[in-house]
């Protein structure tokens, strides 16, 4: 790990810590008013109050966990789907079936991500789990494609072809010949997808999907408090900075770590 890597990793660790540990650190309630709306920061309320006069710091500390957990769950779920489907489509000798699978993945990827999220939210309103599943569904095609491309490359290597020629079982070949080479690709891909997933989770909060109104959420904080930005900008600016810091430093980290795997950040952005 170079020094630059450490410097880049710091914001990621910091934001994730704030998000995950925040609810334990929150001073007092995040849903009860403590003053009038958009009060300037004071000693007891360092970020001032929000649109309904609630403690903005408490809401900030409480409002990140669901978002990060949603993104994390969606990333893991997407990786599971991507690894399963991508590896299978890349290694199977049933070429047509593999091709058909990849075509359906393409079709799924063609649909606007937010549209699918909104649809699921209509079907199962007010549910944070559904939002996470929705994010997993819209980002899984990216994972399948990248894993499939990586697997196809590894299946084409001389040593993997020799193993296939010797008649080794599929699982043994995946474990020995595919998995070690695929791991860095899958990790980098998951990193990019995690960034996109946090953005989608924040956007879902912004649009009011997931758990209902009084619940704190960084995306919703930006929305709720943008009207009072001239009076107290902190409830908008701080969650925004946290989200951007997480996305940018994680993207740069993945970019630096995965130069040979050639995963450009713009590939996933269109899903977000």
């Amino acid at each position: 790990m170079t020094r630059r890597t450490v410097v880049l990793a710091l914001p990621v660790v910091a934001v994730l810590t704030i998000a995950l540990a925040g609810p334990w650190l929150a001073p007092g309630g995040a849903t009860t008013p403590v003053g009038s709306s958009f009060e300037a920061p004071t000693d007891s309320y360092p970020m001032g109050t929000d649109v309904l006069g609630r403690d903005a710091l408490a809401r900030l500390l409480v409002g990140g966990r669901v978002l990060v957990l949603q993104a994390l769950a969606a990333t893991l779920l997407g990786s599971a789907v991507g690894l399963g489907a991508g590896v299978w489509a890349g290694i199977t000798h049933r070429r047509r079936l593999g091709l058909a699978l990849m075509r359906s993945v393409d079709a799924l990827a063609a649909l606007p991500a937010l549209l699918l999220l909104l649809l699921l939210a209509t079907g199962a309103p007010g549910d944070d789990v559904v939002v996470a599943v929705g994010i997993a569904i819209v980002s899984a095609p990216f994972s399948v494609r990248v894993v499939h491309a990586g697997t196809a490359r590894l299946v084409g290597t001389e040593y993997a072809r020799h193993a296939a020629a010797r008649g080794e079982p599929l699982l043994a070949r995946v474990r020995r010949d595919i998995a070690p080479g695929l791991a860095p690709v899958a990790l980098a891909e998951a990193g990019i997808r995690f960034v996109a997933a946090t953005q989608l989770a924040a956007t879902a909060g912004f649009l009011g999907l997931g758990a209902g109104a009084p619940t704190a959420n960084w995306g919703r904080m930006v929305r709720e408090n943008s009207v009072g930005v001239t009076m107290n900008a902190l409830p908008v600016v701080v969650p925004a900075i946290l989200l951007v810091a997480l996305a940018v430093s994680l993207t740069v980290l993945v970019d630096r770590a995965s130069v040979p795997t050639r995963l450009a950040p713009e590939r996933i952005d269109r899903a977000a």
């Binding site: 010797r166 008649g167 020995r176 010949d177």
Partner: protein, 469 residues
């Protein structure tokens, strides 16, 4: 000023300080053909590009001067005056040098605009037509996009371009690679006998091609330039020393009608081959004659266009993994690139363990344990714990051989597997292979260009023009 091109003390280095060219002097006079040979990475292409004022990404000139017709190509003005007018560049692969979006005629016209700016439109059309005729490029080809030209036609389009612009210096980068010797010679002489007597710089890694065309030849090695030694006579084709067809013995492997195409060309053309149980057969041939193609086709790694393969008289499919799925035989291939053949994440003991397990699944066994097989190939048991990147090139080759034998194949196909070994080790490996096929009765096909290896075989065949003889 003694000639058209004058290079003095040219040094080029990478950003990190690695020296590519080290104080090179070179003079080229009008009407001379100069050859530049050397291994890849020696700096010959860098030198050729420097005459055009071009340095590859990350390279910079650290010392020295280049003058072409008295101009410095490393200045913007010099480049503008030289490129496309005084200098012409013909790259390695003509088909990929033409802009795929524009018709040939459009591109010739654009070249003429650069070489003769401000010329009359009718003059230009006449010049283009003349150049195309002189390059025997048919008129209907001029209206085509490059994607619809064959390699030879694209080569002629570049010749027409050169005839049109009449550059005083022509830089030819590997003009004959990928061509058969006759075509290579024709191409070389077309560029070497141009009527306006330009200076020609030929860059190639193949000394034998260059010496036939060039007036004088330099070698480039480690960034320095030196006159090449006088060309030796081209090596005579050596007849196979032994030829003992085993008549009467039932052949274990038989191939008929094997044909492999690459584009229009037939790499292998209706080839037949029969090998008996336990027989060791050598296959020789010039580079590019299709030896590797033959071995990989048999191994099922590159299925051919046509042909019939039989083992013990039973037909066997061409695709290796399909063979494996249907319980068919395993034909092991040990190629020239042992680094690619070995899983970089895997220590040797696991590589051999997997091969053993494969053999066991098919109810076969090689008979030699991991330590024994390593010992037979002159490797220490300590190597079992190493991964490929902890082995030398020769050791990797022997591990690849050990893996092939451990998997107890029906046939063993060795493609120059011993080429990177020192003579003593090579002898030991060949001895091991010989012993193995005698013990197990496994036929071995040895692909080699060396007499000493071929003499080990029961008989030697030569591959030329797509068939064995």
């Amino acid at each position: 000023m003694s000639g058209l091109v004058d290079v003095r003390g040219l040094s080029v280095a990478t950003q990190h300080g690695a020296v590519i060219l080290d104080g090179v002097d070179l003079e080229l006079a009008d009407g001379t053909v100069t050859g530049l040979v050397g291994p890849s990475g020696a700096g010959k292409t860098t030198l050729a590009h420097a005459l055009l004022g071009h340095l590859g990404p990350g390279l910079r000139r650290t010392a020295g001067t280049v003058r072409v017709a008295g101009l410095d190509p490393f200045t913007l003005d010099g480049r503008r005056a030289l490129r496309g007018r005084v200098t012409g560049y013909v790259p390695q692969d003509p088909a990929s040098a033409l802009n795929p979006r524009h018709r040939v005629l459009t591109q010739l016209d654009a070249a003429d605009r650069i070489a003769h700016p401000g010329a009359d439109r009718r003059d230009r059309a006449r010049r283009v037509a003349e150049a195309a005729r002189a390059a025997s490029l048919d008129e209907h080809l001029l209206r085509r996009h490059p994607g619809r030209l064959s390699g030879g036609q694209a080569q002629r389009a570049l010749l027409a371009r050169t005839l049109l612009t009449e550059p005083r210096l022509i830089v030819l980068d590997e003009p004959t690679s990928g061509l058969d010797p006759a075509t290579a010679h024709a191409v070389g002489s077309a560029f070497a006998d141009l009527p306006w007597r330009p200076a020609v710089l030929l860059v190639s890694h193949d000394l034998s091609v260059i010496t036939r065309m060039a007036d004088r030849t330099f070698t480039v090695a480690a960034g320095r330039i030196a006159p090449a030694p006088k060309a030796t006579a081209p090596p005579a084709v050596v007849r196979a020393p032994v030829c003992r067809p085993d008549h009467g013995q039932a052949s274990m492997l038989s191939v008929t009608g094997l044909t492999v195409r690459r584009g229009e060309a037939r790499i292998l053309d209706d080839l037949s081959l029969a090998i008996a149980q336990g027989e060791m057969v050598a296959v020789r041939g010039d580079s590019g004659s299709g030896k590797t193609t033959l071995a990989r086709a048999l191994a099922g790694l590159a299925p051919p266009a046509a042909g019939q393969l039989r083992l013990h008289g039973r037909p066997v499919g061409w695709d290796a993994s399909a063979r494996a799925r249907t319980g068919g035989p395993f034909l092991a291939y040990v190629g020239q690139d042992a680094r690619a053949a070995l899983n970089p994440h895997e220590p040797v003991h696991r590589t051999l363990g997997r091969a053993r397990a494969s053999a066991a699944r098919n109810g076969r066994s090689c008979g030699w344990g991991p330590e024994e097989v390593l010992d037979r190939f002159g490797l220490d048991p300590a190597h079992l714990e190493r991964r490929p990147d902890q082995l030398s090139g020769g050791q990797r080759h022997r591990v690849a051989l050990a893996r092939a034998i451990t998997a107890a194949p029906a046939v063993l196909l060795c493609d120059e597997s011993t080429a990177s070994l020192d003579p003593a080790t090579e002898e030991r490996v060949l001895e091991a292979l010989d012993r193995y096929r005698r013990e197990r009765g496994t036929p071995v096909l040895l692909i080699t260009h060396r007499d000493r290896v071929a003499s080990r075989a029961d008989r030697a065949l030569t591959l030329s023009e797509g068939t064995l003889r």
